[in-house]
Symmetry: C2
Subunit: 346 residues, 2 copies
DNA sequence: GTGAGATCTGCAACCGGTTTCACAAGACTG
DNA sequence: CAGTCTTGTGAAACCGGTTGCAGATCTCAC
């Protein structure tokens, strides 16, 4: 005699499957294989049987068990998405894009945050593998290439930012340098010569490239580089606040600030505000990323826009292609400068 | 003769499991059950065998297949988390809290966005079920009670905001009304009498409760309610901008604005700015939620704080308890008013 | 009427773990 | 030294889907 299925709360963790494919098969008077075929539409089944099976499915609101299907099929229809912090407005935009695209394809996303440190990133990646994701999207992580390559052996990976020539891996570059020069040319075109730069972390590739763009634009305009106008931030408001305060208190003369990203610019705003300086009357400010909130800052911020949301969508597109065994054919979204009210002609 | 395992890109979607538990067993000269027991520590196994099995595991970097384990165990160690939008700074904070707590417990989170509409929410919930999540966290959804109850039959649910008396369901109320009265009392205490309110959507329970708090505080102070001072927003910057502009252009006299949330307040800021009004000199503004960015708005925003991150952590705590068959013992985080520079005495 | 071909369906073997149960060996008791 | 109790291990049966293969039925042509 078969013992009854374990009930909910007691010991059995889940009530297992309430109703299984074989239950449906029995009820409809067919075999399990037929039910499976009808659900997946893999082979033509007579209308008669289809109808009776569908009736049984509807009656019990049957949904095939994900784990069982995953086991049989060898895929879980889940993609791991690694960002640095889910509550960073920058990454959030990207995740949004990823989510949309994946959902449309019937995939779900497992989001995890690397917190800007290697150990956490590694842990996340490991967890992705353990959860059996079909693919991984990495938003410009700090994991070294060898490690990524290693994970790449277990499942396809799409990276934004970095380029990595590994099989079953795809890279979606971010046009950091170009974006930075756009911002700088804008300021220079308005007559600014003393332009400060609030940088990101010293190791992050995106940060380095943006700095490179800053330098390139200066050189292009034959403006001598003054290292005292470059201060390190931390990608966040706080860093921008501290760095700008530092510049101001050190008495550095500057008429404009280019910030490595919008959050930094918001911090800079506050520092300027506290020192009684007005944007753009006293100092012009340009950001990078064009966060949604930036069009609501006071004054609305001029910023470099490379839609992170679109980047996310494309990354999702690419990872789906990899999973399906196709070669992805997607490009990074275009970069442009969005001019608002935080910059003015000298 | 056994045919070789399918290779990566070609036909088989995934390379299946590179190395299985039975492979390890064979290599270590033991049975599969022993390996399983060693991995999970369910039963004591002799040190000798343990050592040789662990060696084999390490050698091949073996990781048990999630789908297979999920099938056998009846759980997937995955929790579905429904918010309205992953890129909303409000929800992002909550998701962050959820993520932390779940990760610590070895669970992963499947995040999905309901986009403030019932159809999407329902679709998300269905997807959660299809993916076999062990539990669900809903951040104040708009799904009706009956539907939630229905999903509750399939897996445990924790809701924030709403209260729902259903088995295997737990609610974590948000102290909307109390928070709103705190904000209002602050303004009234500063001498304001003409206080506008920018509301949220008309149906959302949180929005209604905050409105109720607004009314309650007015009544408490014996200030007559002027319906023309209440305008509907949409929880976002844009709604705040439009609503405030409307108030200003209709020539309504007011000395303070209480906004249903911080994003709305940021929109209000911009509207006031565009009309040449200064905060707090001309108009005082109070928000709700105390988003991280609010301490960087100009001027820094006075706001009601009920840590959404902590709320997320507690929700995660609760859902883990439910999954384990325990009764959750968690409470909503406290509410307090954070006074910054956007309000002044009349 | 029979054979070839096409179409539909069921059996049974898988996917890769976990767990019940039985059994063997060692530890204790009397 | 027989008998009971513990303890460690393996064989085999699950979990709930998918799918290769073979057999059944039906069509059509000669």
């Amino acid at each position: 005699m078969k013992n009854p299925r374990p009930q909910h709360g007691k010991r059995g963790p889940r009530p297992r499957q309430l109703v299984t494919l074989r239950d449906i098969a029995r009820e409809a008077g067919v075999s399990a294989s037929t039910v499976s075929r009808i659900i997946n539409g893999t082979v033509k089944v007579s209308d008669e049987l289809t109808a009776s099976v569908e009736a049984a499915i509807a009656k019990h609101d049957f949904r095939p068990d994900a784990a069982a299907r995953g086991l049989a099929l060898g895929r879980t229809f889940t993609i791991g998405v690694l960002s640095q912090a889910i509550d960073s407005p920058f990454y959030a935009e990207g995740l949004r894009g990823v989510e949309r695209r994946l959902l449309a394809a019937g995939y779900a996303a497992l989001f995890m945050s690397g917190n800007w440190n290697v150990a956490d990133e590694e842990r996340c990646m490991r967890k992705f593998i353990d959860h059996g994701v079909d693919g991984i999207i990495m938003f410009s992580g700090c994991l070294d290439n060898a490690a990524v390559k290693d994970f790449g052996k277990r499942c396809p990976i799409v990276m934004t930012g970095r380029h990595l020539p590994v099989a079953h891996t795809y890279s979606l570059p971010i046009k950091d340098r170009l974006g930075a020069t756009l911002a700088m040319r804008h300021l220079i075109g308005l007559g600014h010569r003393r332009i400060a730069f609030i940088a990101g972390s010293e190791t992050h590739p995106d940060a380095l490239e943006r700095l490179a763009g800053y330098l390139e634009a200066l050189q292009e305009a034959r403006i001598p580089f003054d290292p005292r106008l470059v201060v390190r931030g931390d990608w966040r408001e706080e860093g921008g606040l501290i760095a700008t305060t530092q510049l101001l208190e050190a008495g550095r003369a500057f008429t404009a600030v280019f910030c490595v990203n919008d959050q930094t610019a918001h911090g800079a705003y506050l520092a300027l505000f506290r020192h009684g300086l007005k944007v753009p009357d006293d100092v012009s400010v340009v950001g990078f990323d064009d966060l949604p909130s930036s069009s609501y800052s006071l004054p609305p911020l001029t910023s470099v826009r490379q839609s992170v949301r679109v980047l996310g969508e494309r990354a999702a597109e690419a990872v789906l292609a990899l999973v399906a065994g196709r070669r992805p054919k997607v490009e990074s979204p275009p970069v442009e400068l969005v001019v608002r009210d935080s910059t003015r002609r000298l």
